[in-house]
Symmetry: C2
Subunit: 242 residues, 2 copies
């Protein structure tokens, strides 16, 4: 059998089923509207109950990767290919998909006192220093994002870690923090002198401004992130479902 599940593994069956379905989704065979095996059959093949399988399928339907249709079956959604919970690709991964090689060619880490807004968001006092990270990304001589991130003290970054690795990887592997929720606000602004200088563009040019609040699995504040994206050269994609 092409796909199977390990009943002795400590990984929950429905999680294994979910991962397995993700593989199926990436499988060429199922890309062109071909339905995946029906629930009853697939459950039997994997030797798990239909209920358990359904739990996994539900999650992917929620993410918009699978589409159910009564009597017909369940198929891979239109354009689900490279999706994989799209919002959560890190910046560098995102860019890689678009065939752009990205470098952090300016990275600046400092410890600062938070202002009112920050202290309030993190629920800490203003005399507690936090880590501030600034990054300019893009190709040298052609930057297109300027990022500023502030991290909650509980993340306990030293400032010396290797920030060339994706940030979410560092958090997951080294700090066991899994970011699960983010709230974002996006608007268009005109570049002021500071930003224009960072992005090597003219003052007044259109900039996509994104504020992102990142929370962990227990809904605790992790990161406060501001991004200034050079207009035109950057497209932000969102996928939402209900």
């Amino acid at each position: 059998m092409k796909y199977s599940i390990d009943h002795k593994s400590p990984v929950p069956l429905h999680v294994q089923a979910e991962m397995l379905l993700r593989k199926i989704i990436e499988d060429e065979e199922y890309q062109n509207g071909k339905t995946i095996p029906n629930e009853v059959e697939l459950a039997k093949q994997l030797a798990i109950s239909r209920t358990t399988l359904r739990q996994a399928i539900n999650k992917l339907v929620f993410e918009g990767l699978l589409v159910r249709k009564k009597r017909f079956g369940t198929k891979v959604a239109n354009g689900a290919v490279s999706s994989r919970s799209n919002n959560w690709l890190s910046f560098s991964q995102e860019m890689k998909l678009r065939g752009v090689t990205i470098k952090n060619f300016e990275l600046h880490v400092t410890w600062v006192y938070p202002d009112e807004t920050l202290a309030n968001f993190f629920e800490i006092k203003t005399d507690r220093k936090i880590l501030k990270m600034e990054r300019v990304r893009g190709k040298p001589h052609e930057p297109f994002v300027y990022f500023v991130s502030y991290f909650h003290p509980r993340v306990s970054l030293t400032g010396d870690e290797d920030f060339k690795r994706p940030l979410y990887e560092i958090l997951e592997n080294d700090h066991s923090i899994i970011a699960t929720l983010s709230k974002e606000e996006i608007t268009a602004i005109a570049a002021d002198e500071f930003i224009a200088n960072k992005l090597k563009m003219e003052v007044g040019s259109p900039v996509l401004f994104r504020k992102r609040l990142v929370f962990d699995q227990a809904d605790r504040q992790i990161e406060y992130n501001l991004g200034y994206y050079k207009g035109d050269s950057f497209v932000y994609t969102v996928e939402s479902s209900r």
Copy 2:
């Protein structure tokens, strides 16, 4: 009892439970980190099985409105207040929440032949006319969005319907089409003459440009929507989870 479920209603119990939970989420009482009643207890109170209740809770956890914590219970997520599957609020609802009264003060409906891109997206031929809808929204003398929407022929709008009602309501009630997925691309651009005129702003001012592809529950193309939001005066919010 404050909340209850109607077992005779044709509405599925888990859907009723979900709606009920949404009410609980909006309830002041549960806003400040207070846990909602535990699953076993709540299921007993509502006279439904724990499994069914869990189905409803899961959905809201997915949406990021509820947070589970073993031994502690399930609580309303940080800042879930006005969320309610945020992405899917219609424009006017969204604005209402922010205390802004919105009017469609310019509405223009025509039938046009699709260009290559559109025909390709809708999977129709270029000689098949489709409905084009243009809207300027905001307060009179202070517009802040210019929308262009194209609809797939299967939506069978006549062009004479009352577009003062929210669009998704029209689709759901009158056409039994439920939009379930949208893909969006957002970027910042400088207003050209046409847009500047529509939004009563200067040429070159920053504009948030949003392209939105809307699909129905069966993953079929429904709407192709372009939005030009006046910079600064509009903030686009996104909530994502994994």
